[in-house]
Symmetry: C2
């Protein structure tokens, strides 16, 4: 069991309640990473489902969950022959932190009928670059859990050279070797720096809601995260992330609605 598996563990305490322990190792400054919290919720929801794979997860980020004990409450909504639907809420000290809907099914390893091109080509891995290590007192503990190697122009904002477009692209793998699975994908879809940094924005960009779809089970090896956005307006932006596995297959698609930071 990897550290990530442990940090996302959900222990059933009754038919619809799971005990979890929010790990401080997934913080982005003060708050915890939303993708990590989605992975925690997903563990409980998949355990409670008659199906194996979370084909869809929506999360509304009501509040900022803190490290420590919490519960995931599952409300099964309907289970059919192909698909099951459930509500899943992350609760801490009796207060809902994240509200969610999860759809589960069973995916099979088959050849796609149609597979579009990747959202954006990536340069080879050896031309990609890491972010500098965060300052020890920055509270950016998330960075130590994963390795991101960026398409260089998409982190030009670090040296004051944003591309002017919302974009962020990187190869991704867990720091502790682990084959990607749906829980790693939940982390991956929210692992990039906000795409608006590349358009010149700064500051914490809180996710309001996020929906992602699992499209296929990922092959072992590094993932590719292709992040972009269509519109930055009125303090709001959308961030879409397409995740490809090491064979180039589309394995996950996400869109989040978030607030532009105040710098």
């Amino acid at each position: 069991m990897t550290k990530f598996d442990e940090a996302t563990q959900a222990i059933r305490v009754d038919e619809n309640t799971y005990d979890v322990c929010i790990d401080p190792g997934y913080a982005i400054g003060g708050p915890l990473n939303g993708g990590y919290l989605m992975a925690v919720i997903l563990r409980a929801a998949v355990d409670a489902s008659p199906f194996e794979h979370p084909v869809s997860q929506t999360a509304q980020f009501l509040r900022s969950a803190a490290p420590g004990p919490a519960q995931v409450r599952i409300e099964p909504l309907k289970a059919g022959r192909t698909v099951a639907f459930a509500r899943a809420t992350l609760v801490q000290d009796g207060v809902p932190q994240i509200e969610g809907l999860i759809t589960t099914a069973t995916l099979h390893d088959v050849e796609p009928v149609h597979a579009g091109e990747a959202a954006h080509p990536m340069p080879p891995l050896e031309e990609c670059v890491k972010l500098p290590d965060p300052k020890p007192d920055s509270g950016m503990t998330l960075n130590a859990q994963m390795e991101l190697l960026f398409d260089p122009p998409t982190i030009g904002w670090l040296k004051g050279e944003p591309t002017g477009r919302p974009e962020s692209r990187a190869y991704f793998r867990m720091a502790e070797p682990q084959d990607p699975d749906p829980y790693v994908l939940a982390l991956a879809v929210d692992a990039l720096p906000p795409v608006v940094f590349s358009a010149g924005a700064r500051g914490w960009a809180p996710t309001v809601d996020l929906t992602w779809h699992l499209r296929a089970l990922p092959a072992p090896g590094p993932l590719t995260l292709l992040g972009g956005g269509r519109l930055i307006s009125d303090g709001w932006f959308d961030e879409e992330v397409e995740v490809r596995d090491s064979t180039g297959r589309l394995v996950a698609q996400s869109r989040q609605l978030a607030r532009v930071g105040r710098g």
Copy 2:
């Protein structure tokens, strides 16, 4: 009040319950159009919210609601200074039909900081074409509520010439003149024929879940619906619709996960 406004009316009966009446005029064969049902739910959710605009709506389609009386049950989850979150469930005869999460806020009419290009260019309106009228006994009552003028290649499948890619693009307006608003947009994001028809699939393609975001309030005039998809595999497909208003502004973005029809 237009027929669509009437068909989506939600009457508050207590703090968290609204009476609605599902109109048979929005059917696609047997089932009712999902976008219409989302608009009904949205009426109740926006009425119950402290904010004016539904910036995000997720719907899980548990069952096929039937024409006739139903209720929308609202559970307010959190209201902050900028955003409010709620759960909204469409219930008929005591049985949940659609489960949903809705995020509301107030959008302002401002110039975007960044606005990407449209997903795909459209030919001029006069080069676009209608679908043939449905057979009177087909139960396709939805078609009479709206006018869709298609980018011709994207309905080539009608004469056995699919483009081979998941795509569907059309100009959209209500048959009864009405300026587009968020409720019309909820209908619009699910108004195109399934994008998989253009990739050679046939038959009813049931939506499993759909999330859409309202990005700006639409200007009067026809909308443009740009539909596509990334992957058709294992009986599943994604359909993304980008909605532009008559000024070209991005006003809505949706993604649905659906099942390929067997037809």
